[in-house]
């Protein structure tokens, strides 16, 4: 898994079937996609990884939902909220990715959360759809948040994943578009390649044998 779009929404949430999304993703240069509420499978040479979204729930509920979702080898996404919530969520074993950072305020993801994310290997999802769909002040706000995250990434080196949150094949973007859009918030080609490969790394780390001392 070298290049992965970290989040897409196939039918019924979106208007494109999972097979069609896999074919289009293959044409656009990806070798895997993370589909929300789907099944782990392979279409047209593309690995489809099932993702589970956990949002707007208290930490206690997230712990129980993560336990249930972990059994079926899913990627677990948790929506970021305030700073206290993010610190609590990062401590939960089984959470893979935090998303929705552009919707939070500047204090939600600070240097402490960044350090905790780096230590526990939890990735931060940078959603490119607001950069594509928003205009004016709201896009500037998103860019500012992402620039802030990238500054922390340079210091603490927590994993970052890039995604389109596409509900349709018309919202998917090519690997070339990913790298072009990522330059807007200070990513270079190496950073983009690393970010697109992070889903594979998360999956391989999870399945790897660990030595317990």
């Amino acid at each position: 898994m070298n290049f992965t779009d970290a989040c897409v929404f196939p039918y019924p949430t979106g208007d494109s079937s999972i097979r069609r999304m896999a074919i289009e993703a293959c044409d656009l240069g990806f070798d895997s996609i993370v589909a929300i509420n789907s099944t782990n499978c392979k279409y047209a040479g593309i690995s489809v990884i099932n993702g589970v979204f956990l949002n707007d729930t208290p930490v206690q509920d997230i712990i129980s939902k993560v336990k249930r979702a972990k059994v079926t080898d899913n990627l677990i996404f948790v929506k970021t909220r305030d700073n206290r919530f993010n610190r609590a969520v990062i401590g939960i074993r089984g959470v893979h990715i935090l998303y929705g950072l552009h919707l939070t305020d500047g204090y939600a993801f600070d240097h402490v959360v960044a350090k905790m994310a780096a230590d526990s290997g939890i990735a931060i999802d940078l959603n490119l759809s607001p950069l594509i769909n928003e205009r004016g002040q709201s896009r500037q706000h998103v860019l500012n948040r992402y620039i802030d995250v990238v500054n922390l990434y340079r210091r603490f080196e927590f994993p970052i994943v890039l995604s389109t949150h596409a509900h349709s094949v018309l919202e998917l973007r090519s690997v070339r578009d990913f790298s072009a859009l990522a330059t807007l918030f200070g990513f270079d080609i190496q950073d983009v390649e690393k970010a697109l490969g992070n889903i594979g790394r998360i999956k391989s780390l999870e399945s790897a044998v660990r030595e317990i001392k």
Partner: protein, 163 residues
């Protein structure tokens, strides 16, 4: 008015883009306004003027977009931010950049070979929705749900259809 000698003309680059969904009919002027809006909103007026975008041609599901030499990257980023044109949802995928339109036409001719599968509108079903096939390219099938307004378009494959 005489044209400038070639050494005094500004250098330009041409970007070939593929328009999706395949088979959509776009007006050149409307596409120009969509490109201009995307460039201006992303880079501002000054940088937008320097990019100097123009839609040179639309041929089938391809378009050739011109820009000033050295601003191809800025244009490509702005093109990836286009989501609609004259009320229709579209996406522009950058295929190639060249100094001449001729070489892009050659590229287009190579890509068009697999792009000419039109189908008769036939009825089909997908997950309980009664649909009409509107475009078929290889495994890919675009269908429009039959309904009062006929507006919902699904992007499927042949395997997804029930009959």
């Amino acid at each position: 008015m005489t044209s400038r000698p070639p050494t005094l003309r500004e250098k330009r680059r041409y970007v070939l883009v593929q328009i999706e969904p395949v088979g959509i009919l776009l007006d050149q002027k409307e596409l120009y306004f969509a490109v201009l809006e995307a460039v201006t909103s992303l880079w501002g007026d000054a940088a937008g003027a320097f990019v100097h975008p123009a839609v040179v041609a639309i041929e089938g599901s391809f378009a050739v977009i011109r820009c000033r030499r050295g601003t191809e990257r800025e244009l490509a980023i702005a093109l990836s931010c286009i989501t609609s044109c004259s009320g229709q949802r579209i996406v522009l995928h950058t295929v190639a950049t060249s100094g001449t339109i001729e070489s892009l036409r050659e590229r287009m001719a190579l890509m068009k070979i697999s792009d000419n599968e039109d189908v008769q509108p036939v009825e089909c079903a997908f997950k309980g929705h009664l649909c009409t096939v509107c475009k078929c390219t290889g495994q890919k099938i675009d269908v429009i749900e039959k309904g009062f307004k006929n507006t919902t378009r699904f992007f499927l494959t042949k395997e997804d259809l029930e009959n």
